[in-house]
Symmetry: D2
Subunit: 284 residues, 4 copies
């Protein structure tokens, strides 16, 4: 028995839910989860559905073309269908900060994440030992401003070789260029150490301290060409007060960064996110 996940979005119309659920009935599917959302402003319908295919004759492979030519075509849907057993392959990009890396690899080892991590890519060698502790191949791809293009070529080669599905920037301190962004649209997750859109850019904890805020935050988002402007996946915050120094902000922020990035990875890996209009629909 196969378990599949379907993600759909299309123009909102009458009868979509009836059509989709009728279809699942027809193929002897057992719906175990269904959720939908309508963006009434933009008139767009979103749906996420999980089902068990109880008839062995029906598999992802046989249903896919059938669903595409019937339901999906009728409603003009954009859609994806996944075998739940197939874990997405995730590449980790890191520089020198180790706290998010330790957290992700700890969760990975504790089997909390529905992913495979075939490789870590870094522009510095500092975190090689961490990767080795967890037996993950570590690829050192250094570059300068001048050789950035060449570095990027090497990165893309690695991503292709390992058949990477999505990328996580675990406090990777470099700007990702359009070449990679375009190949991995809505598939690169970054963690920004502020409550976006407050304190975009560099040194957000210093800026937050200077402004005297009483709450700091962290934001995970998909990377787009506009720096720190991509669709937000998850945010969280923690209280600070006058007694805390910038160093305290940074230390408290590490916990936020860890947790907010880990949640985004889980959501993406379980195919619970959809992007539209530079925003995310995040199914529960």
């Amino acid at each position: 028995m196969q378990k599949i996940t379907i993600l759909i979005h299309c123009k909102d119309q009458k009868g979509i839910i009836a059509a989709v659920t009728n279809y699942i009935l027809k193929i002897a599917g057992n719906i175990t989860y269904i959720d939908q959302h309508v963006d009434h402003e933009q008139n767009v319908f979103f749906m996420r559905l999980e089902c068990e295919l109880t008839n062995v004759k029906n598999t992802l492979e046989t249903i896919k073309p059938d669903f595409g030519q019937t339901i999906a075509a009728d409603f003009g849907m954009q859609w994806e269908m996944y075998n739940q057993e197939q874990k997405p392959k995730m590449a980790l990009f890191v520089s020198k900060y180790d706290h998010c890396l330790f957290d992700i690899l700890g969760r990975y080892s504790a089997e909390e994440l529905n992913v495979e991590i075939p490789l870590i890519i870094s522009n510095h060698n500092d975190l090689r030992t961490v990767a080795e502790r967890f037996d993950i191949p570590f690829h050192y791809v250094p570059f300068t401003q001048e050789t950035k293009e060449e570095g990027e070529r090497l990165q893309l080669e690695l991503l292709e070789r390992y058949q990477i599905n999505f990328i996580v920037l675990a406090r990777y301190m470099q700007i990702i260029t359009p070449t990679i962004i375009n190949k991995f649209t809505n598939k690169i997750i970054n963690i920004h150490h502020s409550f976006l859109p407050a304190f975009q850019g560099a040194k957000p904890y210093h800026a937050a301290f200077k402004r005297g805020v009483k709450i700091i935050g962290a934001t995970s988002h998909y990377v787009t060409e506009e720096l720190d402007e991509g669709p937000i996946i998850e945010q969280d915050i923690t209280r600070v007060s006058h007694i805390h120094s910038v160093e305290d902000f940074i230390m408290k922020g590490r916990d936020l960064e860890r947790i907010v990035l880990a949640r985004a990875i889980k959501l993406h890996a379980q195919r619970k996110t959809m992007v539209y209009s530079n925003k995310t629909v995040v199914f529960s």
Copy 2:
């Protein structure tokens, strides 16, 4: 054009969503909200649906019997159907504490609550002036342990006279007896000033202080015959520390009580709650 809300629960079976959404299509309804939940442990299906009846021939009155004899009968559903324009009538029971009362009446005056409040009932006269400030009829129904039955009879008479749909105990310090509970099953909302099930019964802030907790809470729940054991609707918490006295706990708790009770009222008034197995399903 009428707007209606439908609440359904029944044994989980294949085809429920398809059947219901097909039905809405048939009557020319436009689904503006749909959410469902399956309790896989108990095998129960829950659904909440909002739709606009675009064909003027279809109204709540005509659809109700039709839906009941067809879909609802087929699946063995328990269900309710509401006209969204009809605000539920809410009775407020109070004693001497005024903070929740002020909050509710302030929100009511600011048109935040989808209810009518035809009366306030109290076993003390203290809060009469508050009721008068907001022009709500105030009924003083005093009783002693000996005359509690008589008091209850008067309360029931008032509830009936004003055609009350649900009751809110806004820090009403009396125990509601089975006679009233049975007439208003899952229709009496209480606010308990602790994070249930911790600190049931009297003086929860004192108990929390004694235990040295770092977080205090408040819980709104439907009243059942077991004291503080009814289905939880909403909870929230706030941080405390060694610097806070019992009086500080009480003062901080007032804000929790206000907000947690207000949220429960809103959810109930918008027919977003369903009760099953002494728990609530709370639709978003």
Copy 3:
């Protein structure tokens, strides 16, 4: 027996705490609360102290000059000393939004706020009935862009006549001009309906919705000449998701605005805030 509160700030130096606590000992004061903070970056010392004067010969009036000429002079302190029994007088400025006004007046009536509210000033007549319900004098001071100066003159006259100590802008939709700000420096509290510095200016909920944030906030701050740039007193947040419309943001935000403004009023009224470098020290 008098209870007094002392607020001090000065250049950080050795021996301040010893000197102040020795002084309190000398005048037979019983310290019931003491807290201090050092801003190591700017080298500034802050202290808040509460004490009971157990010797009836010592009162606020006799101690004040003595403390000023000895301890305060020695260390170059800026300081204030308050009789705790003297509640500060607070003016409320409102326009058309009533939710913060209802909340504040409800708390005031429930005796939660350590203030007197001698008057409400508004540029619209809409909320007069709310003021009347709570028996607070309501002063209608309308003005246009052309007559703003005249309006301001009338406002200042009222503030003086009622001996107002501080002003609360309860969703007052007008910009306060430097004339009033300079007379009430760090004594005008505003509530901004966003998590500052994100979404400054008008329509922050709309901007937050457009950006697709997962958390919205509210910020209470002292008013300075730079719009939304004054020292932050308190902030809080609540979660939102793709299912929430702008209207949901606004409704959820009302609860934030109420609570964040109420907390700021309490802190200010209890003389727990000090302003320095466009930031606040908020004592617990």
Copy 4:
């Protein structure tokens, strides 16, 4: 220049702060942090102070007897004095759950914790590989109900051999017996996977699920002979709803357990906690 931390508690009396701060002045100490708390109910005074000894002639070793014989004796203080450079030695007790262990060792490697971890003790061999990844000696001390006493003897031997200062039970599923508790009074930190005092004992997530709570929590506390009744150090919570299964509770709880345990370790390691009357004073 030495940096020291002093913790004091004694009966509340006039003049303590003056005496202590005068003493620090006398020995040419520069106070960089001072905080105090009075439990007015029990009439107990608590103080935590950090200072730099600017005169090289004064060190922890010379001051300790002096302070003890003068100030501490005068006021009947219980007190401790620490060299801030000396990191406490922490033993980790684990069983089979790895998520807290990964988190702690990740933080330790990232140099977030002010501790040394000379050893891990476990009654199972499952987590040996995790310990080895981080190069921490792993001691397998198995026992049955019959051989528990012998196991405990071995544990104590190890704790002594490694000069352990405090113990952290990172989801160690065994009950600690009085012998060890008495040797490490207020020096054994446990993480309980509920919002204590709710859901004491085994399977708290299952109990929380059954009760239908809307919030789950985790609690770190010092271990006493009463199970789950020791002084609470830190608590935190997360929201759940009807859509979450017991497995979801457990998974969400892992993040709570990690963070709440890590915070307790940090607080203890920085000597910010004091225990009194089965409660903690937790300095900021």
